[in-house]
């Protein structure tokens, strides 16, 4: 589904990603771990199409198609979703209206009519129950005044609504207490299927106890320095990132 080939990318001549290779197939859950500044969030943004970053070498393929000339919205229409570490506040636009716009724009891109209002409401009800979201919450302005946990839960709610093929969860666990973490992880797990894939980006192993990955990759200085199965995450937790740093120097 996703093929990242020798990806070099940076901002204003400053290289952040130094040759990343990563392949994700349908049904798989991958985790990318790494210390601060290793390029985790940059990788997430580059896959989602953030224009600020320039790809200097290599590239990204999604479903066999090169994404180089593809805008973020087109990537969304193809089924790529990025859950933000810091979701943006949009005053005056309710969660419901925002979702309507997002869903209908995607449908428009696929040549479909707007989703009928009753179907939309049913979908919103269904998915908000999945994330244990209160009705009142849906009429509030998007992310405005939301707590950290509410923002993250809202991100996963959006993911549930948009049903992406590839969901990238960027530090979804940061700022969550254990109850919120459980709800969010539970929501994500219910959305897992043999046809979609998830890329979890995290600093800590904690989230991976709930969203169990098939593969774990360790990112350091813009490169994947180690890959393995879920046991690698535990090892990292135990030994800390210095272990990887030292090993990669050797």
């Amino acid at each position: 589904m996703l093929k990242v080939n020798n990806l070099h990318a940076g901002v204003e001549g400053n290289e952040i990603l130094n040759g990343i290779n990563l392949e994700i197939n349908p049904g798989e859950v991958h985790a990318i771990m790494g210390p601060n500044g290793s390029g985790k969030s940059t990788l997430a943004s580059v896959i989602a199409g953030k224009e600020e970053f320039e790809i200097t070498e290599g590239g990204i393929e999604f479903d066999g198609e090169d994404l180089e000339e593809t805008s973020p919205e087109e990537r969304a229409h193809k089924g790529i979703f990025l859950s933000f570490q810091y979701p943006v506040e949009i005053p005056g636009v309710s969660v419901t209206n925002f979702m309507k716009t997002a869903i209908n724009e995607s449908r428009k891109a696929r040549g479909l009519e707007d989703m009928p209002a009753n179907q939309m409401l049913k979908l919103i009800r269904e998915k908000s129950e999945l994330l244990e979201i209160d009705r009142k919450f849906l009429s509030r302005s998007l992310n405005e005044g939301f707590s950290g946990g509410e923002k993250k839960r809202n991100e996963i709610f959006q993911m549930a609504m948009l049903e992406p093929k590839l969901a990238i969860l960027d530090e979804t666990d940061s700022g969550l207490d254990i109850d919120a973490l459980r709800i969010v992880a539970n929501g994500v797990n219910k959305l897992r299927s043999k046809d979609n894939a998830i890329l979890v980006i995290t600093h800590y192993q904690r989230l991976l106890e709930y969203i169990v990955p098939d593969f774990v990759h360790v990112l350091h200085e813009g490169k994947i320095v180690k890959s393995g199965t879920k046991e690698l995450a535990l090892e990292l937790e135990e030994k800390g990132y210095d272990w990887i740093k030292n090993e990669s120097v050797v």
């Binding site: 919205e73 005053p91 005056g92």
Partner: protein, 438 residues
Amino acid sequence: MDLKDKLVSSFLAFENNVDVDHPVHDIRSEAIKNFELRGFPNKKQEAWKYTSLNALKKIDFSIFPKQINALEYKDVKRYFLHEIDTYKIVFIDGVYSSFLSETTHDGVDICLMSAALSKPMYKQIIDVYFNKVASKEESLTTLNTAFSKEGAYIYIPKNKVPKKPIEILHFATGNEASLLLQPRNLIIAEENAELQIIERHQSLTSNEILTNAVTEIFAAKNAIVDYYKVQNDLKNASLIDNTYISQKNNSTVKVHTFSFGGKLTRNNLNYYQNGEYIDSTMKGVTILGEKQHVDHHTLVHHREPNCESHQDYKGIYGEKSVGVFNGKIIVDKIAQKTNAFQQNNNILISDKATINTKPQLEIFADDVKCSHGCTIGQLDEEALFYLQTRGIPKKEAAALLMYAFANNVLESVRIPELKMRINRLIANKLGVQLGFDL
């Protein structure tokens, strides 16, 4: 002959059509003398530094329409807030249209300035209020005073609330090659009275129109006045809108100004607080493109203790448009415990657009809370990216962000249908369909 000379000499012709024995005529005569002395403002004056009237002064405006023009309701319906029932005071090329209007004398007076200036029953009120808060020095105001004859006259007696909002509409047909209009409004809300006004100036052709309007508003004790100015005119229509407000104890006057169109618009909005516990609120959303120019000049004069003023103006400037915000707050020495807030936030969406913003605070009291802030920025790239990753195209995403930016100004619009209308105007102005009614 230049426009000033033409105006001064037209005053003699004007006198043939008004009652020169009425006391108001003395006020007019004084005013024309003042205008003759001062002439049009120019860029050397601080208050007009960023707004030039030179191009307008070169146009040979007709001062009086040569004929009476009519309009069919169906052709102008869209400019009315037709979704709800309203009182309507409608003028076509400066002349009252009884056909399009709906006035009343049922407990309140919602009618015409010409009637108020000619009928004896209004004389007492005219003596007390006419030209009492409008400036006697500002030259464009005195020009309007000199030619004051027609406009809206609204008198809401003590404890009365009109059944519905009032619309004041000025249409310009363009049947004249170029026309100068000078409406004069007088609005009085007595103790505990409450009213809502929606005002719009609308040109219907590409001919040149210049409107120099003066509105005086008097809010007595506990009165509440909500005034909405919808400025979405065609590209050869210019407006100089002078509003003077006098408030007494515990009164609330809110003016919302929505500026989306026109060639040159200058809003002079002046509040004078003549009592305690007054709330003066002015809010604005300005969205401009092309070479449009909008200049908001506000003044709040805090003359008594324990009052508040709130100013919140948001501007979005594209293409080669120019915006000006100048907010002056004067707090007299006696006006302790004043709370005065002023906010002006702007987004420039083009490299060629300009905004000049200037707070002007003159504070002579020592126990006050005054704050002001102005920002000039661009759209937040991270926010744009966020919306795009949800499948919303860049243009729509930008519009959504601009809408969000202007949103808190709309929250205080108390007529839901008007709010919807403004939302739609904003969406149109931003050139998007957002899949839901904003």
